[in-house]
């Protein structure tokens, strides 16, 4: 893979008469995600006629448009030209967000017990299952490794605020897990869960199939706009942000919950310039550089 993501045979297809689906790759690849985020931001900047919005995804994006204002084939031509003009991913504004998590919590474990019949191995907790399929035997070691680097938000969607969080490491070091055999009909709001190569936090209570390993103390969706940092934006995630998960104990969890309930909680957010090229050249040292920069911010 070239610096910033080389792509061949980008696929442009119709999603009915109001959407276009643009697929860069069938596989998950951070370099491709960096580049498509650059393309999506450029589409937004250009205010193309008829384009309602653009929704970046992991290795593709969706455009919603009004066919009365642009024929989809004309829009495809414009998007192809625009893609040709962006040879490598540009510097992205990326927020580093602290996400305090109570791992191995009682609520997701209770939920896992209720849906034991849908799991691969109900004799262990979802966390222990995730450890085992990734070759860990010590809980502490696993949680430390799990949180040793930020996660890239490569896509936002499903329901408001759901973020696909991709651990910033080479593919061979990815932590992976299968989904539940059959999805649960219930998951607690703010459950931290993992499936495939992605971690996600459930924005609202509801069905789900990811392996549940903890609870975020902070919400990722705030329909009532109670928290000052989410006013006017409703959700925490931006595609292209980085979330740093931080293990906390029950006391700190309860303390943060009280602040959230009171509407006084402030997220720890540090805005940084993220240079995809530097990350691709040497991920470890670039992450370290960003971490030091953030520590002095």
């Amino acid at each position: 893979m070239e610096q910033g993501g080389a792509m061949s045979e980008t696929r442009y297809d119709y999603g009915g008469d109001e959407y276009l689906l643009v697929v860069f790759s069938e596989a998950m690849d951070l370099a491709i995600n960096f580049k498509l985020l650059s393309i999506c931001r450029e589409i937004e900047r250009r205010h193309l006629p008829g384009v309602i919005e653009v929704c970046p995804a992991n290795a593709s994006y969706l455009v919603h448009f009004r066919p009365e204002e642009t024929h989809p084939d004309a829009l495809i031509r414009t998007l192809k030209d625009l893609e040709r003009g962006i040879q490598s991913a540009e510097t992205l504004t990326s927020r580093l967000v602290d996400i305090p998590v109570l791992f191995d919590d009682p609520w997701t474990q209770e939920c896992a017990k209720r849906f034991a019949d849908r799991h691969q191995d109900p004799s262990v907790s979802n966390l222990e299952y995730l450890m085992r399929v990734n070759g860990y035997s010590s809980k502490e070691e696993f949680i430390t490794a799990y949180c040793d680097r930020p996660y890239w938000i490569s896509m936002v969607g499903f329901v408001p605020g759901t973020a696909w969080c991709y651990r910033m490491c080479p593919p061979e070091q990815a932590i992976q897990a299968p989904k539940y055999i059959r999805p649960r009909t219930d998951t607690p709001e703010r459950a931290v869960a993992h499936a495939g190569v992605f971690l996600c936090i459930y924005p609202v209570q509801g069905p789900g199939g990811y392996q549940m390993i903890g609870m975020s103390a902070v919400p990722v969706y705030d329909p009532e706009e109670r928290l000052p940092d989410l006013q006017g934006r409703y959700i925490l995630a931006n595609a292209g942000d980085r979330w740093q998960f931080r293990p906390i104990d029950m006391d700190e969890y309860n303390d943060i919950r009280a602040q959230v309930e009171a509407g006084s909680y402030r997220y720890r957010i540090i805005e940084q310039d993220f240079r995809p090229g530097e990350y691709m050249r040497d991920p470890e040292s670039y992450l370290k550089h960003l971490q030091e920069e953030a520590a002095h911010a």
Binding site: D17, V23, D29, C55, G157, V197, P223
Partner: protein, 334 residues
């Protein structure tokens, strides 16, 4: 003001939906049967996007406290004003204290209640539509309950101006039990074998009981997937892809075991194979389908989809002209 006496099974405030927020995972919501809803608003002299009520299977009863006009469109439903049967697809006057009551839907699935001035709960992100899964919009993001009081706007036209106006009844769609629905195939359809795609387009799909504003689950044959190496990050199941965006109307096939058509409260993205998208003009047909109905899908080209879209707009335009409404804002012509 509109005071809810009985809420009905599932009655929500809807308008034409909330655009521009799909990228945060917020679907548009809005009336599922676009044609019926817009005509309902035209009949009472409203702009097409004024908020009204979407009624599912069984209707509410309510009282109004001010002078208004009402029209009920969409599914075929028994409807009375002060216990006197009233006709759908035309405007009726309401006086303070009048009681409106809807019974069970006889044909179709969703009826629309439009009142002059519209329902004026506050807008959230540019729309009054209810999105229940996200607890957003409408009235506290939920369905109506007995005792709710809904504010009504000031009518856009003199109350009597719309009375007696009608349009060619052949323009009124009649909900069918056997639906013919047009689809633009594509997106991830290359993941599915040609035989399975052919079968998808030749069999009758049955609407299951899991059919709501998020999506309609359809029962039919299972799908076979093409063999090949699984892409990194796509998951082990052949029906999974690396998560991508789902258009409204898109058809996904989780596990290859069923087909789900996503509607206006859709989940905006995920990791299931999508094989095509129902054209916008035909989503109105699905909005009126109930469990047990059968759907036959027909593949069309993008230009046929665009032509069908223009034809639907032409039907709306004809209704507008016959009602004597001459501009997009829904104002009455002189």
């Amino acid at each position: 003001m509109l005071s809810v006496l009985e809420p009905g099974l599932l009655t929500t405030i809807q308008d034409l939906g909330r655009l521009h927020w799909y990228h945060i995972g917020m679907p548009p919501s809005g009336a599922l049967d676009n044609f019926a809803f817009r005509v309902g608003n035209l009949l009472v002299g409203n702009p097409e996007d004024a908020a009204g009520l979407e009624v599912t299977y069984s209707g509410p009863s309510f009282e109004v406290t001010s002078e208004s006009l009402i029209a009920i469109t969409g599914a075929d439903v028994a409807f009375t004003i002060n216990n006197q049967p009233a006709a759908q697809w035309r405007a009726h006057t309401l006086h303070p204290g009048d009681r409106v009551s809807l019974g069970g839907v006889r044909r179709g699935a969703r009826a629309y209640i439009c009142l002059a001035g519209g329902i004026t709960v506050s807008e959230r992100l540019g729309s009054r539509s209810t999105y229940m899964l996200g607890r957003f919009g409408g009235l506290d993001g939920r369905k109506l309950e007995a005792g709710d009081a809904l504010p009504l706007g000031t009518p856009h036209t003199a109350p009597d101006a719309m009375l007696g106006r009608s349009f060619d009844p052949t323009l009124i769609p009649v909900p069918q039990k056997e639906l013919e629905v047009r689809v633009v195939m594509g997106m991830c359809s290359h993941r599915v074998t040609p035989d399975s795609l052919r079968e998808f387009l030749t069999v009758d799909w049955e609407v299951s009981t899991e059919a709501d504003r998020i999506g309609y689950r359809l029962k039919g044959p299972t799908f076979e997937f093409n063999a090949g190496e699984r892409p990194f990050g796509a998951g082990a199941d052949p029906s999974n892809v690396v998560d991508l965006g789902y258009p409204i109307g898109s058809i996904q096939i989780p596990g290859g075991l069923e087909a789900i058509v996503l509607l206006n409260d859709a989940v905006t993205g995920g990791g299931y194979t999508t094989i095509g998208t129902v054209i916008t003009a035909d989503l109105d047909l699905i909005a009126q389908a109930s469990p047990g109905c059968h759907i036959r899908f027909h593949e069309v080209t993008i230009n046929e989809a665009l032509q069908a879209r223009r034809e639907r707009e032409a039907r709306i335009e004809q209704v507008r002209l016959e009602l004597g409404i001459f501009d997009q804002a829904g104002m009455l012509g002189q």
